[in-house]
């Protein structure tokens, strides 16, 4: 439910840099553990972009895989969940990648 507001943030950030020039493409990095759903961002994007420099821009979303590190044995593994046990049995793990929420770049026409 917060994706609408997050998409508005994205449009605001890009619009500030476009300064009136039409934007052809926007590229985002969204981590798979970020609690933000890319499809929901895509759904909101057209509505939020309407009437701004971003109208009709292509939206590219680069999803970044989740990785967690065990604080006990230091092993780093891929993960799709923000929490979970390490192979050593410890639950004392923390994400080291996959929480990104970033506007990577934009292309002006």
């Amino acid at each position: 439910m917060h994706e609408l507001g997050i998409t508005k943030n994205i449009v605001t950030i890009v619009s500030q840099h476009a300064k009136g020039t039409r934007v052809k493409r926007v590229s985002l990095e969204i981590g798979k553990l970020s609690a933000v759903v890319p499809d929901a961002i895509r759904f909101c994007f057209d509505v939020c972009a309407k009437g701004t420099e971003l109208e009709n821009a292509d939206l590219e979303i680069i999803e970044i895989a989740g990785r967690k590190r065990c604080r006990d044995c230091q092993l780093t593994t891929e993960t799709n969940q923000v929490y979970g046990p390490c192979e050593c049995g410890s639950w004392n793990t923390a994400p080291v990648a996959g929480e990104e929420l970033r506007v990577k770049e934009m292309e002006l026409a």
Partner: protein, 268 residues
């Protein structure tokens, strides 16, 4: 429309001072901080690629950091109370104010989509409180807390309790500048909430298991719930209590006092 939570133009967040009834709208768009970026042409097709590398929540995080610095300067312990609606946040606050209010100054920010009902309940205990109505917004943001401080004017060496909008999803993403988040879960909600909403339970340092007086009447295994919470967040500290019977309240208020005392030591 609000750029963070999606709330409409006609439902701007507003502050209500329950004492005077004064209402102040908050314009969250008044200061648009700009991200640094570098601009250069990438190819010869007359398009220009701009690398932004801009954090989408950077604006909120910057304001939250300013709030945190201000709280530290003032020696104030700010707690961000989060939960689903109906877990008993306001009742916990009322009881905490009754138990501790004469021993240390406590100030409250009440966040709800609509009404000043909760602020009225808090004010009835004699505590200074500001109500923030987020309109259709589903969480408090750092800017709302910054605005509230002007109205609330908490004294130095005090506690500020920020009661967030009832929602186990969105408030996890928004730092308000608090010392820590306190998640409240009642035994009527289901013991697997921590693994259903892991982001919130990871973001919180404290979990309060509330309404334990109802345990004989509901299917809820506290040990299982705590086990789930520790799977998600091994360091989470747990209090089990009932605001109705008062059972377990001692440990919670003792912890609050210890936190303020240790903070005072650090400050001197």
């Amino acid at each position: 429309m609000c750029t963070t939570c999606g709330c409409g133009e006609n439902s701007k967040p507003k502050l209500i001072d329950p004492k005077t009834g004064n209402v102040v709208s908050i314009d969250l768009r008044q200061s648009h901080d700009r991200e640094p970026a570098h601009h250069h042409d990438h190819d010869a097709s007359h398009t220009k690629t701009i690398h932004l590398e801009a954090e989408i929540l950077a604006k909120n995080d910057r304001i939250a950091e300013r709030n945190r610095e201000w709280f530290q300067e003032q020696n104030i312990m700010a707690l961000n109370l989060v939960s689903s609606p109906g877990s008993g946040k306001t009742t916990l606050l009322e009881q905490t104010l009754r138990d501790l209010g004469d021993q240390m100054p406590i100030f409250v920010i009440e966040g709800d989509q609509e009404t000043a009902n909760d602020a009225e309940r808090i004010r009835a205990t004699g505590c200074r409180v500001v109500q923030v109505n987020t309109g259709t917004g589903c969480h408090l943001e750092a800017n709302m807390v910054a605005h509230s401080m002007g109205k609330l004017q908490p004294s130095r060496n005090s506690i500020v309790m920020i009661e967030n909008v009832g929602n186990l999803v969105c408030p996890a993403l928004f730092d308000l500048g608090e010392r820590c988040k306190v998640v409240i879960l009642s035994v009527t909600e289901g013991e697997d909430k921590p693994i259903k909403y892991p982001h919130m339970f990871r973001a919180s340092d404290i979990m309060i298991l509330n309404k334990i007086d109802l345990l004989p009447y509901v299917q809820f295994a506290p040990d299982k719930c705590i086990q789930y919470a520790r799977q998600v967040n091994p360091g989470i500290h747990v209090f089990q209590l009932s605001t109705t019977t008062g059972e377990g309240m001692d440990a919670w208020t003792r912890w609050l006092k210890q936190q303020v005392q240790s903070k005072e030591k650090m400050g001197t």
